[in-house]
């Protein structure tokens, strides 16, 4: 065949499965056990310098099967070299998430544009920058938003096997219409002390509900952060890293009165735009015998949520801003075989909050396998 010298560098297809177990699915003081199974595929196909990729994932919850969901991503990317030390990377991607009945308000379609630049200023220092544009259109339009993120980082490697890195991030998120209109108010509607209105929260229940504020509270949130880390190689098979990050909300605040975060579920009102504070972390990576990779990590965070008022366990506002302190321990091990890789991970999270509902801790255990199936040219 004439195609024996195919110029395609990679056409890959992989299947992965993971089983996740937790004793606190909804991450609040009323801990609820569940198991979550993820089955996903990933594929990409290269056409010249353009690469098309697609990924689908089905997640099934055993105890809360009405929260099962499917995620589909698809997109294309392109690398544009400037010279032998610098290049641009561009990608355009779309995503759809489809939850079953309990979470169907969170079904969304989204579009993302991502541009990155990387340049070796010298053989030991790297300048990186990227910009990301996200648009998400939810089934319940109160969550619809567009966001912009810009990042610039610089790192320097020293002959002592030490790497220093500094990073600046800026982000802006704009909710198009985070207000509940009269026609969607239901029997569970509350009027709160700040004069806003919306669906009442359901402390003690797993069902996601939300409250929104009056229009005067604004729709845009602007955040800025500084972060850095120092990494040290210890011998040839051990890496140690200490990191720190400080984030400020420059303008705006969360338009929702009540936010929650659930294990493995993306929440539009609880993301990097919802808090200010700091985070410190440390990570040890080791290469063990038989090429087993082990990661040990510890992270602590101190976060304040502008615009999010504390509620008592009956859902009454207490007039103070929610503050959380979180400690997290992580142990992850991974082993790669010729055609597949397996991993086991464990996380312990302890979240102390001045809102008693969010004073919680949880254990998270995952085990998974990823199987790579070659489709393209070997070269």
């Amino acid at each position: 065949m004439l195609t024996v010298h195919s110029t395609l560098p990679a056409d890959s297809f992989s299947l992965s499965f993971s089983q996740n177990m937790t004793n606190n699915l909804f991450q609040n003081r009323f801990a609820e056990r569940d198991q979550l199974s993820n089955l996903s595929f990933y594929m990409d196909k290269n056409f010249s310098r353009l690469s098309l990729f697609a990924e689908g994932k089905y997640s099934y919850l055993f105890e809360n099967s009405n929260l099962a969901y499917y995620t589909q991503d698809a997109g294309l990317d392109y690398i544009y070299p400037i010279d032998e030390k610098s290049a641009f990377y561009f990608s355009v991607a779309g995503r759809g998430i489809f939850y079953r009945s309990e979470y169907s308000d969170f079904n969304y379609l989204s579009a993302n544009f991502f541009a990155a630049f990387k340049s070796y200023l010298s053989q030991t220092s790297i300048l990186k920058s990227n910009y990301s544009l996200d648009y998400k259109n939810y089934r319940d339009s109160v969550f619809d938003f567009i966001s912009h993120s810009l990042m610039v980082s610089f790192d320097k490697y020293f002959q002592t096997k030490t790497t220093l890195k500094g990073e600046i991030d800026w982000g802006y998120k704009y909710f198009f219409s985070p207000y509940v209109y009269d026609e969607v108010l239901t029997a569970e509607t509350n009027t709160n002390s700040m004069g806003g209105k919306g669906k009442g929260n359901a402390h003690g229940s797993y069902q996601y509900v939300y409250q929104t504020k009056s229009q005067a509270d604004g729709q845009g949130i602007q955040v800025f952060s500084l972060s850095g880390w120092i990494a040290q190689g210890l011998g040839n098979k051990i890496g140690l890293r200490f990191s720190g990050m400080r984030q400020w909300v420059l303008s705006g605040q969360n338009p929702f009165f009540f936010i929650e975060e659930f294990y493995m579920v993306e929440n539009p009102s609880y993301d990097r735009f919802s808090w200010e504070g700091y985070q410190l972390g440390s990570q040890l990576t080791l290469l063990l015998p038989w090429n087993i990779q082990l990661k040990l990590g510890y992270t602590m965070a101190n976060k304040e949520f502008p615009g999010i008022e504390n509620l008592d366990l009956e859902g009454n506002p207490l007039g103070i801003i929610r503050k959380d302190k979180r400690k997290q321990i992580e142990v992850t091990t991974e082993k790669s075989f010729p055609r597949f890789s397996v991993f086991v991970s464990y996380f312990y999270v302890q979240n102390s909050s001045n809102d008693l509902y969010f004073d919680w801790n949880g254990h998270y255990f995952s085990v998974g396998i990823e199987w790579n199936i070659p489709l393209g040219a070997k070269q």
Binding site: I79, I126, L284
Partner: protein, 147 residues
């Protein structure tokens, strides 16, 4: 008649050789030529390797014991995924595609650095790196890290 046959033969040879334009002879992953080396990075560049395709991250490695220089092909997206620096220690497993020259060329299958392992190809040499999603943090999601 013979002249016509010569022209057809010439065209066939031309067609066969076109797709391999830009590649060195024998430039493919040969499992029988697999080696494992350890050394320090001497140079990092992004360089075209295959016609009409994205350039590859190429690392020049000085072998620890013999001080020989190896040119190691990482991957196209590797330029953005991995932040290697001159002086860093790497352990590379891959296929030797040329020898006897001043620098020997290796197509990398697995790279180890700072306690981490990067799998670039399966044991038969089929690429396993991924496109754009690799830059968007998907690895963390896969391991259930969303708190």
């Amino acid at each position: 008649m013979k002249r016509k046959a010569d022209v057809i033969l010439l065209m066939i040879l031309l067609l066969v050789s076109l797709p391999s334009f830009g590649q060195k002879t024998g430039h493919f992953y040969n499992v029988d030529q697999e080696i494992r080396i350890e050394g320090k990075i001497q140079k990092i560049v992004m360089e075209p390797r295959y016609k009409d395709n994205s350039p590859f991250l190429i690392v020049t490695l000085e072998e620890k014991d013999t001080k020989k220089l190896y040119t190691v092909e990482i991957s196209p997206v590797g330029f953005f995924d991995q932040d290697f620096h001159k002086g860093e220690h790497l352990i590379v497993t891959g296929s030797l595609t040329s020898s006897g020259e001043k620098e020997m060329n290796i197509i990398a299958r697995e790279v180890q650095s700072k306690g981490e392992t990067f799998i670039l190809r399966d044991k038969h040499g089929f690429p396993t790196w991924r496109g754009g999603k690799g830059l968007m943090g998907r690895k963390g999601k896969r391991k259930g890290k969303r708190f």
